[in-house]
Amino acid sequence: MSTPPESGPTLDAASPLPPQIEAADEPAQVPLAIEDWATVIIMGLLACITFANVLVRYFTDSSFAWTEEFSVFLMILLAMIAGSAAVARDRHIRIEYFSESGSMARRKRLSQFGAVLVAALFFLIAGLSVRMVWDDYRFDETSPGIGVPAWWYSIWLPIVSTAIALRAVGLFIRRGRRDDRGAE
């Protein structure tokens, strides 16, 4: 069954792998490898934990309840950390129809405006969530599933939100530079 792809039927000589459409990353001051490695590790963990849960339940008819809470926490962390890389790569869903037309100066202003707003939102979330963490800590809140202190989870919200906001600041600076070069 392990036929190598090149000796396969003759329909198509093209490689079965999709073409690598990935564009090279713009260089960032702080390496994106930080977020990338964290993303890879979290995705791997999520898949393995859930798969282990299926196996354990299949063989022992019991499942570990703590995995659900921990998996949800990992997913939130994934959304924020990988989302931070996506901010730096400018991959977030947005309507490019109007902002990608018009003069270079207009495009530059609009993409910088977008970056400023992303930064503002996440600085806001970071600042406000400090209060949320403080409340969790002060009132000794515990998580509903495992019963660990709730601030173990919520502490990441201000930290990663700040990281996202800083990535947006970085994007703002790079967008400012890029179009200067393009105009020359």
Partner: protein, 432 residues
């Protein structure tokens, strides 16, 4: 007043190209602050709470896992083997390759949960093959983009998972079952204009002279791919796994097929696969969580019910309102992606759904059909973006071809509206 500000701010921010999640979050936060000027910190503590709560839902975990399934099967070489098998069945002749592209996209729809991933997998194999057979690249890109849109209807589907999180009365298994028949109908409906256009314009003249793969050999090689939907959908049906677990089982099955059987995935590819799937999921999940802030400010402002009342009392009647909604959503769908449409409009439309006592599962299928249409309606068509990039054509060139396919799928939507049992028969039969 504040409600008007909420929408105006959101629409303006979105149009000037601010990321949709940020537009939702900022408009929501601004309205919370304006509505609570006398509360401590303007009531803004609700912002991080709703951000966190919007994400902290176990069913959402199925999204990163199904995205991961998509990017694994994308690289596993399953698509190529399915194509060979399909060609061995239908044979060679004018219009056969477009048909194969649609059939394979539908089949992959039973494995992956997102349209663009499907377009990438099918496009990588079919677009080159179709140009060699003499089909113009713009036509191939249109066929692949349209065919991949059936993916979000045919279970598993990321769109249904998001809908189910938003709507309490619609479970993921029920939605998955409900999407099956409309999804297959949509695929079959696409075949008619695709084959007809190929014949009419005498495209693919070289196809008849190409060799036909041997049936049993291609069947044997395609078995591993053919078994995947059986494992995913059958496993969920048999109650072995939840949707999230089914996705994870498919992840490991796909890795086994790709790394051990076909040897198309190397260990070092895992980094890229996990990173891309993680980033794509994060883009979806962040919109989900920031929409939580927007939805919270909508609900505290209490604007939804008056608007819903105004609509239901407008004298348009049930089908008039439904037609109006569809026209509005098709317009919006030209600019917005499917997940954002669900997140913004489902909370708004929910009182109307309840007023007319529409079945939430049926309504979910209608909305998803609409989103599927939007995935290949230029100018913002995520599937066409992927297939045009592979075919190396501009999206404007596909306008000539996608029209008839859009019309065919639109007729399927009208049919599901006219005969709700098309969607509801299977989930009832299966007892969801």
């Amino acid at each position: 007043m504040i409600a008007t500000l909420l929408f105006v701010a959101f629409v303006v921010l979105m149009l000037v190209g601010v990321p949709i999640g940020a537009a939702l979050g900022l408009a929501g936060a601004a309205c919370i602050a304006l509505a609570n000027t006398d509360a401590q910190w303007f009531g803004l503590l609700a912002v991080p709470q709703n951000f966190y709560a919007g994400l902290g839902k176990y069913p959402l975990l199925a999204i990163p896992m199904f995205v991961l399934v998509g990017s694994i099967f994308d690289r596993s070489g399953v698509a190529l083997r399915l194509v060979n098998f399909a060609v061995a069945i239908v044979g060679r002749g004018p219009g056969m390759l477009p048909m194969v592209a649609i059939l394979v996209a539908m089949f992959l729809g039973g494995i992956s949960g997102s349209g663009p991933a499907n377009a990438a997998a099918v496009g990588a194999v079919m677009i080159a093959a179709m140009s060699r057979a003499g089909y113009p690249p713009a036509f191939s890109a249109s066929v692949v983009g349209a065919a991949a849109a059936t993916d979000i209807l045919i279970p598993p589907s990321v769109a249904f998972i998001v809908y189910s999180v938003l709507v309490p009365g619609a479970s993921v298994p029920a939605l998955f079952a409900a999407g099956m028949i409309p999804g297959i109908l949509a695929g079959l409906a696409l075949i008619i204009p695709a084959v007809w256009m190929a014949r009419k314009h005498k495209m693919g003249a070289l196809e008849a002279s190409m060799p036909r793969p041997e049936f049993w050999k291609s069947f044997r090689e395609a078995t591993w791919g053919l078994a995947a939907p059986v494992l995913i959908l059958g496993g969920m049906r048999a109650g072995w796994f939840t949707p999230t677990e089914a996705a994870v089982v498919a992840v490991f099955y796909g890795l086994f097929v790709g790394m051990v059987i076909y040897r198309t995935i190397q260990v070092r590819d895992l980094f890229v696969i996990l990173r891309e799937a993680g980033e794509l999921s994060a883009v979806i999940l962040l919109v989900v969580s920031l929409a939580g802030i927007f939805a919270y400010s909508l609900s505290t402002l209490g604007v939804i019910d008056p608007v819903a009342k105004a609509i239901t009392n407008s004298g348009l009647g049930e089908y008039g309102v439904l037609a109006l909604l569809i026209v509005m959503l098709i317009t919006v769908g030209m600019f917005l992606d499917g997940v954002s449409i669900f997140l913004i409009f489902v909370p708004l439309l929910w009182p109307i759904v309840q007023f007319y006592k529409w079945d939430p599962v049926w309504f979910g299928v209608i909305l998803t059909l609409k989103v599927a249409l939007g995935q290949f309606t230029p100018p913002l068509a995520v599937n066409l973006m992927v297939s045009c990039r592979i075919a190396n054509v501009r999206m404007e060139e596909t306008v000539r071809w996608v029209g008839w396919m859009l019309f065919a799928m639109f007729l399927v939507m009208v049919a599901v509206i006219a005969w709700p049992q098309l969607a509801l028969w299977l989930p009832n039969k299966l007892g969801y």
